[in-house]
Symmetry: C2
Subunit: 110 residues, 2 copies
DNA sequence: CATCATGCGTTCAAATAGTGAACGCAGTTT
DNA sequence: AAACTGCGTTCACTATTTGAACGCATGATG
């Protein structure tokens, strides 16, 4: 399933290292190869990524994943949304942590 | 799947409201009734929760979910671990947000 | 040149996880 | 007593994820 999180993370990783392999990507994302392959194809499908074959001595047959103009634009948008989301998450965490601290002391008193 | 997150959240919700229904729990957790039922049973299975029937006028046949001594102790531990985890997450978020801010400005320049 | 070893993307059967409609039960209401 | 409501339980179905296995292309080895 291609969630916003993966959309963002993949676009970022690909932009940083266009010759990244699907296996590297999978490891970086913490998901399986199959899922990574699925997500990449989905991104190509909707035109955010473009693949171009290339060869090099270390990676026998590999692709370059290139962000399309649409992909770059989308990444900016997605990044901003992600940022907003993260900031909200951050604030929520502050509350949660305070709450947890209370619970910890509560629990110890029981 | 009963992850630490659900273990913690369920113990917390149950402690706060022992006569909570599985449907309420499901809604609070944001998962299905089936999954909630599964998680509750798992917690009873490992001895963290105890069920005791009770009736009341509003809830026809309902259970009380009671944290066992083991459950209370476990909750303390789990809460502390969760707290540690959240604090780490919090710190990581601070970095991520800073990074995202840079990306946003980077993206705008491209 | 021929063989092997390595690393790539791809596939897909199997495993795992998650859903929610439907059921029987027991009180409450009409 | 019949209808209604809310409870936990079940489970067939769907969705999601995994990773071993494959074919292919290159580099290395004899």
């Amino acid at each position: 399933m291609l969630t916003d999180e993966y959309r963002y993370k993949i676009l970022k990783l690909v932009q940083e290292k266009p010759d990244i392999s699907q296996r590297e990507l999978a490891k970086a994302l913490g998901v399986s190869l199959g899922k990574t392959n699925f997500c990449l194809k989905a991104l190509v499908e909707v035109g955010l990524l473009k693949v171009s074959n290339f060869r090099n001595s270390k990676n026998k047959l590999a692709y370059m994943y290139v962000l399309t103009p649409k992909g770059i634009e989308h990444k900016a948008t997605v990044t901003i949304n992600f940022l907003k989301h993260k900031i909200k998450e951050y604030e929520q965490l502050a509350h949660e942590i305070a709450e947890l601290r209370n619970e910890v002391t509560d629990d110890l008193q029981e």
